[in-house]
Amino acid sequence: MTLTAPQTQLPPAPPSGRGGHPGRLTATRRREALTGYLFTAPTIIGFLVFVLGPLVAAIYLSLTKYNILTAPKFVGFENYARMFRDERLATTYGNTVLYVGAAVVLINGFALLFAVLINQRLPRVLTYVFRSAYFFPYLVALVYVSIIWQALFQKDTGILNYYIAALGGERIDWLNSSEFSKVSVIIVDTWRNVGFAMLIFVAALQEVPKDMVEAARMDGANEWQVFRRIVLPMISQATFFNITITIIGAFQIYESIIVLTRGGPGDASRSVVMYIAEVAFNKFDMGYASAIAVTLFLIIMLVTLVQFRLRKSWVNNE
């Protein structure tokens, strides 16, 4: 930071900032601007090369037939029309929507519950312990998390079934049955992501003014009323953030399924992103894969936009 002129000689700078010594100021400004651009350059270049470029390429490829080995051939909207006839795409989209719904409800539900419990008047050390314990899964690489869960889910040797059998239940084929393979994926996804959402909620809960809560209690509000009428509105920004993040994340669910079930049996637990990867890199049908990727992108964008619109009706900006 360089001071440009002796402040004492000048009147307070006019709001437009263009007064004083235009020539010298412009040169400095230019230098400052240049510095600014240089600092942001890595991010901007990264965005152009790794986000915007591929996005444009995907949109272009989605209009072509392209098998990698021969040059892309323009086919118009054929790939998009094909999606409506693709039963496997319908199945994988159905699964993905289920994962998104489950993630929004379960991750945020459990996260809020844990956050409220941790935020009770416990000894400080204990709250640290609980916070770390719940957050820990988020620190372990997802592939390892999934490998560990895969062992727990084993039908004959898994510890989950050991307890179920010990309690007199039927052993469940967690990973190889059409229904439970989805449930397994949802369990792992929830377990892994609850900690992060919880941390956001804890931070928000600690911002809730204590005197406001006290005042409500004095006025005779019970705990539920306090929570419903004061705490929940006060943390609505955190809730909005968490829901947005979980939706976007769940739409792109991928690695955990590969490790746990490989998408099977059949397509029972396959997600759209897995299907895109298969079409692109097993079938080398880049055009169709790009078309599906573009629709997924549009859907996520649309859902996020709708959320931002609805935001006004329930998120407290105070």
Binding site: I68, N176, S290
Partner: protein, 434 residues
């Protein structure tokens, strides 16, 4: 979940990069001359050739040995020996196609029956006819190889690949367990019914002590012998039409499923590894190629012998061969050919016989005492070629293989055979149309 974002970005980025480089792969190269005498490259030639290999660690040692031997012959040639530990066929082929698309195809490509059609359809390989005709060394080698192995590696009268090893599916059985149960070695013409009866006799115990008659090889190459021995296949003879909904295919798949679910002579295949259950004495029989023998030896397990695959309506089984091709874009065609010759000559064939991951493709190596030392009926591996059929691998094998296994998974988890196979059929049909 965050990583998934990156994955999809990477997908798009890869697509974008490939679009830029795809043009490079179509360039023609000189190729070997069909007429005129073959002249080997000079001893002191300076060059670099790249090789793409696959297999298990034992295979890698063989390839490294060949590269060293080549160095003695051509000291100024650098061999980049790229080795891919194989998990599934489709993954290896995908890698090759991506390399070729990026204009970085290796000079020498090791590929198996499963990827041959794909390579031929996309014109990845140079024809070897000029070499085979004019190089006297090649002629002797060729005559020592079963014509059935060579047959799969040609197209329109040209030969494109030289086989080095192959695998054929046979039944492995535990000799001690057979003895203990008082079961004689069945005849080479045994049937599915004989197989089921023996399996039932050998299935004993329950819970953790359960011993199964059969541990099922659960991958398409391992299920194919059931189809072939029932007189059917996933593909038509000319590899142009998928026939997964063929009643015979359905019948076979039902038989395979019933081994686990109805008769209970085999464990649920998902999540259990037959090549652990069998040497551990938890299963009396399994199906495999020669590739398991190395692992059994390492585990100190030798109480086994082999039998031909049992007969349904016909006596048959499946084989797949590994072979070497010269990439069409290679600038060192002659040098690559010299390397391929060394990869497939008798000296290397003996090494394959020892390595235990496959059957050598020359009769000499496959009838060497080293190869025949274990198991007792090891000659069956080469002899089975007389009735075996090559794995049905169309250009769209990368779709066929996963589609069939997806259907099998569904069927094993209790879903309807007909509708599961129908889905797979649709998938393959669509891929074949391209």
């Amino acid at each position: 979940m965050r990583k998934a974002v990156r994955t999809s970005i990477a997908t798009a980025a890869a697509a974008a990069l490939l679009a830029l480089t795809a043009c490079g792969s179509a360039t023609e190269s000189a190729g070997p001359a069909v007429d005129g005498p073959y002249a080997a490259p000079a001893k002191d030639i300076t060059a670099t050739i790249s090789v793409s290999n696959w297999g298990d660690p034992g295979d890698k040692a063989v390839y490294d040995g060949v590269a060293e031997r080549f160095k003695e012959k051509h000291p100024n040639v650098t061999v980049n020996n790229n080795f891919t530990p194989i998990t599934t066929w489709t993954e290896y082929v995908n890698k090759l196609v991506t390399q070729a698309a990026a204009g970085q195809a290796p000079d020498v490509i090791n590929i198996a029956t499963e990827g041959v059609e794909l390579g031929l359809a996309n014109e990845l390989f140079s024809p070897l006819d000029g070499f085979l005709k004019n190089d006297p060394e090649a002629k002797a080698l060729r005559e020592d190889i079963d014509p059935k192995l060579l047959a799969g590696f040609g197209k329109d009268g040209s030969t494109y690949l030289m086989p080095n090893t192959f695998n054929t599916m046979v039944i492995y059985y535990n000799t001690k367990m057979f003895e203990a149960a008082g079961i004689e070695r069945p005849s080479d013409d045994w049937t599915w019914d004989d197989f089921l009866e023996i399996s039932k006799k050998l299935t004993t115990g329950s819970g953790a002590d359960k011993v199964y008659g059969f541990a099922m090889p659960y991958y398409s190459f391992g299920i194919t012998p059931w189809l072939y021995s029932n007189g059917t296949s996933m593909m038509s003879e000319d590899l142009k039409t998928a026939q997964l909904t063929d009643p015979k295919v359905q019948e076979t798949v039902e038989w395979v499923r019933d081994l686990a679910t109805k008769y209970g002579v085999a464990p649920q295949p998902k999540g259990s590894d037959p090549y652990q259950l069998f040497p551990a004495g938890k299963a009396a029989m399994t199906g495999a190629g020669h590739f398991v023998t190395g692992g059994f030896a390492k585990a100190g397990f030798s109480d086994y012998d082999i039998l031909p695959w049992p007969k349904g309506t016909t006596k048959s089984t499946v084989f797949g061969a590994g072979a070497f091709a010269i990439s069409k874009t290679s600038k060192n065609q002659e040098l690559s050919w010299e390397f391929i010759k060394m990869l497939t000559d008798q000296q290397t064939q003996k090494k394959w016989a020892d390595a235990g991951s496959a059957v050598p493709s020359t009769k000499t190596a496959a009838s060497s005492p080293e190869f025949l030392s274990s198991p007792k009926h090891a000659e069956e591996f080469y002899n089975s070629l007389s009735y075996a059929k090559p794995v049905a691998a169309p250009g769209a094998y990368n779709v066929l293989d996963p589609a069939f296994m997806r259907a099998m998974d569904e069927i094993m988890s209790g879903q309807d055979i007909g509708s599961s196979l129908e889905k797979a059929q649709k998938d393959v049909e669509e891929a074949l149309q391209k």
